[in-house]
Amino acid sequence: MDALEEFKQTYFQECDELLGDLESHLMALQDGETEVETLHAAFRAIHSIKGGAGAFGFDRLVSFSHTFETVLDLMREGKVAPSEECVGIVVRAGDIVADLVAAARNGEEPAADFGADVLDQLAAIAGEEGAAEGADAGGEDAADDVDEIEFTPIPVDLDGDGGDGGDAEAQDDADEAAAPPAASERFRITFRPAKTMFTRAHEPLIFVRELRGLGGVTTTADVSDLPDLAELDPEAAYIGWTFELKTAAGRQAVEEVFEFVIDDCDLTIEAIDENGQPVSTDPGEGGEPQPDAPAEPQPDAPAEPQPEEPTPPAAEAAPETPEMPETPETPDTLETSDEPPAVPTAEAEPTPDEVEPTPVEADSAPTAPTAGPKPADKSAKEAAAPAAKASGVTAIRVDLDKIDRLVNMVGELVITQAMISQQSDPLLAERYPQLVQGLEQLHQHTRGLQDSVMAIRAQPVKSVFSRMPRLVRELSAQTGKKVKLVMSGESTEIDKTVIEQLNDPLTHMIRNAADHGVEAPDVREAAGKPAEGTIHLSAEQRGGRIVIQIADDGAGVNREKVRAKAIERNLIAADAKLSDEEIDNLIFLPGFSTADQISNISGRGVGMDVVKQNIQKLGGRVTVRSEPGKGSRMVMTLPLTLAVLDGMIVRVGDDHYVLALANIVESLLPHKDDLQPVAGGGTVLRIRGQYVEIVSLRRSFDMAPPADADQELIVIVEVEGGDQVGLVVDEIVGQQQVVIKSLEENFDPISGIGGATILGDGNVALILDVAGLRAVHKRKVAGQSQTTSRVDRDQEHAA
């Protein structure tokens, strides 16, 4: 069970990636992209999702994606025109697949009619009456599949012997259409391995791949030698293949493919003409004699969602399985490329009785009764497709913990390195120039190492961005506004932890842009703008930070309304003088919402301040800039990583503390008149007409008052919720990147302290948590009534 559960997790992880891919391909389609490769890619994504779903028995997902895939298949073959309507349906189908995957992951059963309308529409396109039955199409589909599969093998098989002129021609056409124009010959290669072939470590899949590398291949499997399951020797080779190859490479190249296996097989290579030569293999042998008995061992693997099966869809299945029939299929899942025609043939034939709708490969056949030419078609296109596909994936999955350990270790190295550097003085450089030179190099290498390690954790923001088009679609459906989402910079990379926490704020901001920013189509047209609004979501790296912007071409922030609302809600004073920018940014205050009507999209007044909080938690900042009538632009800046913090180091007493630089607004030497005690204890600082709460670190930390209080500085820091707090410190020491360490690992949490770090001299510095400090301060102020004395003294000193 555990193993299965593990496979499931892997499957869902892959689904995430696949759904992201699918979304981007569908987006491209929607934008009028007509490349057949886009359709191929979308097909592959949905196909892989379906394959895994079958293995785990997610029937709803399987039946839906099956129909979906059928439509995509028809589209990529040009049988269904990518009309606007059709693309619209396909895009919605993509959303439903995502929902079904989510439901499967959460172990929920979606409502019986969920997605039924889209399924009907898909089925209508596909012309599949069976699937049109609606939500519980699973069973129907199964029946359909079986029906179609029963029919398909025969044309495909006959193909091999050229008996079916029509089909062969269709194939050729396809070949010609897609294959490179080089002058080419045709060969028929009959390859019958000796039973012992596998014991010599030969792998037929490799031959197939190499042949494919030479040109378009049509593959037919000959399973006539397959014995009953009981007699089957799993290590013996039973299946032979007939390849029809169209290549410009010449006979010698073909022979070279089989060079090493020549002693372990019967091989014939004959040149054939356009229509194929008269038969050299017996057509009947193709499989008819053994409709069910030999079938068992083969379809077993692809057709049944048995627990061992998760592997092939999981793409981890290396083709080393001793079962021959599986090998030709494996490349599919492995490379997520098109299926070689051998597959439908080999498997479809013998299994009419037991095929379920789930098999990974069965789908290539069911689409149409004309399945014969189709595989050929596919292979031809495949051959035409860039060879890049074959290069394979060069990524590995690594446990995040391992990477974190590495990151920590490098963090230590950086600190140690800094420590050594601090020790080297000019004298040292004179006496041991080479040592100092070495230290310099060490410094550079350490930095390089740190950057590389951080880059491992980095991921493209695409994984979050790709969820947004759907959101915009839904929003425009709900609001009746026409909104287009344009994205750029999706490949910008950012720390994985940041990415994970980016989804919510981004969703809120896009909602806000669609709901509040973009106007209704008639309003837009009246204003001389295109009826369709545009939201531009972009990401880019600027220095050590990532900047994500959400720009809309809507009405912009209605400043009068915002101001009025803020006054009404007591968020600002009625006579407060605010710049335009300050007014715009009022929307980030808690409890602020200007939507006249509370909709379920936005307007609950929690959106934007939550956005701000979330982003601040990530060490980032968010602002809005707006131009009335032209739109607004929300700018979010985020640190590249959470493991490292840009800190300002301050001194209080003998100890150094670190403040997150991102939250610091300004620092100043206060004038005594600006500091005023307030009723109930506490102090405020008046700054440009606003009052800022003052928190003394010394007092919060029960330290003695300083000897020279008039030298104390105030650092104004923004805390969660948009409030500003002035921290009283002794000195600002400097600015430094620090590696964040856990204090709680060995000690109980201390309110006001967010963590610790190690400075260049090896000493520990505590990282301040300003929101926590403020809470501590409030308790203290509430607990003591004579607190004003401190303020008085401050003022005396300042005087």
Partner: protein
């Protein structure tokens, strides 16, 4: 005497938790690190000790008890230091380089104990660890879990869990 012979051998390759388990079963000896705080000798089970360092200053942790001297950087890990003298209610240690910090692992966490000097490693038969008399009026009482006599000197065995728990007061 015969009893001791096998355990002496075992002690040679101490550091193996398993060995110690076995020793316990056969009711033999434990190894203890003995150190001083002021005039008094204390000891702790050697198995809890990770390393012994010279005092090198700490970063103060605000709003903690007097006996929490702050934290140090132990090769990248932040480790809190407990001043035993302060813990026993005798005021903070005026620490300098001759003081020692004994790094311990207690439960899942690491702590450092600030003491004056490390004096000895004792190998003591378990039966020689005496319970603390209930009426003992010593101030450090809650932090002592046993008494040993070594060369006519009393060595108090420290109850680690109690010492590092801020909630426990003497």
């Amino acid at each position: 005497m015969m009893d001791d012979t096998p355990t002496v051998e075992t002690n040679l390759d101490s550091g193996q938790g398993q060995n110690r388990e076995i020793e316990h079963v056969v009711g033999s000896t434990v190894q203890l690190i003995a150190f001083t705080v002021g005039e008094q000798y204390y000891c702790i089970d050697i198995m809890a000790v990770r390393e012994i360092r010279a005092w090198s200053g700490t970063t103060t942790l605000p709003k903690t008890a007097e006996f929490v001297r702050g934290v140090i950087n132990l090769r990248g890990t932040i480790v809190p230091i407990i001043d035993l003298r302060a813990r026993f209610g005798q005021g903070q240690t005026d620490a300098n380089k001759s003081n020692v910090v004994i790094i311990l692992s207690v439960g899942e966490r690491l702590y450092g104990l600030l003491a004056d000097t490390v004096s000895d490693i004792l190998t003591v038969p378990e039966k020689d660890i005496h319970p603390v008399p209930e009426t003992d009026g010593a101030a450090e009482n809650p932090f002592i879990e046993g008494l040993i006599t070594k060369d006519s000197q009393m060595v108090a065995m420290i109850a680690l869990e109690q010492v590092v728990d801020e909630a426990v007061v003497h």
